[in-house]
């Protein structure tokens, strides 16, 4: 359904994989470690995410999932690690460069621009791919006006894409919880990312909302976008993800397809075993 209706601008320009081409890794990280005082939050974590995949990162509470997220998006500086984004070496040192490089994220606790409308939130997402500055704004140059119109239009398209087009002019804090999550996703998509990283997007959602979320992520995948997903809802992750990494106490204990990972005894013990988390 989506390919016919999806504006061409959403699909990255690369075509699909073929067996003779080398694998198109969007994110290729290895050896990531991070220590906080006495706590080794991450130990030697590695991960490879292929383009067009929905990649899940799961693990019990405190396993280091959000820490990993924060490391690859520049909020924390890792003690060690190699990073490659779309084949290019990547240094997530300054947070604002991360979006520029191509990783967009959402937050566990939803960080929207509360007093701005939904439309404006998404328009801010376009900031990193547009250029007008003070002079354009002050003198209302043709270039500025054209860019503004394009930003607004793209923002509206994205709001429709995630399903909240009707709320474009509502202040984002007046939206329902589920709609706010979708808005955050639309805003992240607006940055035209290589990888969109979702931090517990299903948190606090009821069953219906989770189904809608899953459909949205499926849609994003169909449009050739790559998704990294932290989630607690194991059922959601297993049904949605192409590949999964399981963390426990900062270490990778399993990596593979959902089916493989589910059968892994270490994973079972981490979730169900003694020393419950």
């Amino acid at each position: 359904m989506s390919n016919a209706n999806t504006p061409a601008s959403f699909a990255p320009t690369r075509g699909g994989e073929s067996l003779s081409k080398p694998i198109d890794w969007v994110l290729n990280v290895s050896g990531i470690s991070k220590r906080f005082g006495g706590l080794q939050a991450l130990s030697d974590v590695s991960m490879q995410i292929e383009r067009g995949q929905v990649y899940g990162l799961i693990g019990p509470n405190g396993a280091g999932k959000t820490t990993f997220f924060n490391v690859i998006t520049g909020l924390y500086t890792p003690d060690s690690g190699q990073f490659e984004l779309a084949g290019q070496p990547y240094q997530p040192t300054e947070v604002h460069r991360v979006a520029q490089a191509g990783i967009a994220r959402t937050f566990q606790n939803i960080r929207l621009f509360a007093e701005m409308t939904a439309l404006e939130n998404v328009m801010v997402g376009r900031h990193v791919r547009t250029h007008s500055g003070l002079l354009g704004a002050i003198f209302r140059t043709r270039k500025f006006l054209a860019e503004e119109a394009a930003i607004a239009q793209r923002a509206r398209e994205l709001l429709d894409y995630v399903g909240i087009g009707a709320f474009a002019d509502y202040k984002s804090r007046t939206l329902s919880y589920g709609d706010q999550r979708r808005l955050e996703i639309a805003r992240a998509l607006a940055t035209d990312p290589q990888l969109i990283a979702l931090d517990e997007p299903a948190a606090g959602m009821n069953a219906t909302e989770k189904v809608q979320l899953r459909e949205l992520i499926d849609k994003i995948r169909r449009d050739q976008r790559t998704v990294l997903l932290i989630e607690h809802d194991v059922k959601l992750v297993m049904g949605l993800c192409d590949r999964v990494t399981v963390l426990d106490y900062g270490k990778v204990i399993a990596q593979g397809t959902p089916a493989e990972v589910q059968r892994n005894p270490q994973v079972i013990e981490a979730y169900l075993g003694t020393g419950a988390h």
Binding site: H96, A114, M123
Partner: protein
């Protein structure tokens, strides 16, 4: 654009507002020049409030030392358009045998530019500070500038210290000094009225400027920083540069207002640039409605004009209280009570941005 801007904010007939604004001084001057003077000072405060609104209202940076930029502009004009430098330094006197003077068209960009530069300088150390620390540091900068202005009369007399700079030129517009009254035949415009129109023009330009900034990529970026700096960074916004831009842009308004103030009064001294002034300007912006241009203007006019107007009505009250309440005390009392009661009654300000974004014009919709 201004038309849609004003009318969509519920101000129905923008032309009406404009005509009223033009007619105001003519009406006031019949009651006495003092009333026009109040209007003039109100306009200068509107400029200050508009500038601070960029820093506090749009970008969310609590600047409690904004008066520093007002001082920069005022002293710039004071030094460049008064006899002080030529009288103090024979070298300068020899370079400028006719004295130092500056035309309006040079003052405006120079004051804006110099103040903007100070904005960048004073903003730079604050970039990594949390909100309230930023407030106290900017407050500190404001005080530092005032103390320097007060003491730079020794060892080299640059600012003339507490005595201030006097005999500052009036502004000349197309060769006509605004200190001279203008006789149009059917009506005579005293100097205060001429200044009113100049200040009104500056305010109108500033309002248009601010509205354009508000509805632009940069304006949205500023507001994103105000709302959630971490999310803003995560969306790729270079918050450091954006904050500097806000400081610089906001400061430039202060500089322009300061230069006009110096010319209007003919005299500047460090007393006019106290912490209380910075606080007043912040109060104007918050009381009026943070980030909402009509509210900011309202707040400025209210806090600037009402206490002054009260001065003239305070006579009877003074007698009633046996001399304990004089105009100055009454003014302070009024300001304090206004700040407290308005915040308790309307914490978002008297005229804040409309609650439900639903009926606001969306960007891209209202423009050509």
């Amino acid at each position: 654009m201004t038309h849609t801007f004003l009318s969509k904010r519920g101000l129905g007939q923008p032309w009406l507002i404009f005509v009223l604004a033009l007619a105001l001084p003519l009406v006031l001057q019949s009651f006495g020049n003092a009333w026009v003077r109040i209007a003039d000072m109100s306009l200068l405060y509107v400029l200050l409030a508009l500038g601070l609104n960029i820093v506090v209202g749009y970008a969310g940076l609590l600047d409690l030392g904004y008066v520093a930029f007002f001082a920069v502009g005022a002293y710039l004009f004071g030094l460049m358009a008064s006899p002080h430098l030529t009288e103090t330094f024979p070298l300068i006197a020899s370079l400028f045998p006719d004295g130092l003077h500056m035309s309006l068209w040079m003052v405006l960009p120079l004051a804006a530019g110099l103040a903007g530069l100070f904005g960048l300088m004073l903003g730079a150390p604050t970039l990594k500070l949390r909100g309230d620390y930023l407030a106290i540091v900017t407050l500190g900068f404001g005080e530092i500038i005032r103390v320097f202005l007060n003491n730079l009369d020794y060892p080299v007399n640059i600012t003339n210290g507490p005595k201030g700079l006097g005999q500052i030129d009036a502004v000349t517009v197309f060769g006509y000094p605004l200190s001279r009254r203008l006789d149009l035949g059917f009506i005579e415009l005293p100097s205060v009225t001429l200044y009113y129109y100049l200040f009104l023009a500056l305010v109108v330009v500033s309002v248009v400027l601010c509205a354009r900034l508000e509805h632009s990529r940069i304006g949205r970026a500023w507001m994103a920083i105000r709302e959630d700096e971490i999310a803003a960074k995560a969306m790729g916004l270079n918050t450091r540069n954006l904050k500097l831009m806000a400081f610089g842009m906001g400061a430039s308004f202060g500089g322009v207002s300061g230069a006009m103030f110096a010319s209007f009064q003919g005299f500047v001294s460090p007393e006019s640039f106290s912490l209380m002034e910075s606080v007043m300007i912040v109060a104007m912006v918050v009381l009026g409605g943070l980030g909402h241009l009509p509210g900011v203007i309202l707040g400025a006019v209210l806090l600037a004009a009402l206490p002054e107007a009260l001065r003239y009505l305070a006579g009877p009250l003074q007698e009633m209280s046996g001399g304990r309440l004089d105009a100055a005390i009454l003014r302070q009392l009024l300001i304090a009570l206004a700040m407290i009661t308005i915040m308790l009654w309307r914490p978002r300000g008297l005229w804040p941005t409309p609650e439900h974004g639903k009926n606001l014009p969306t960007v891209g919709g209202g423009q050509a």
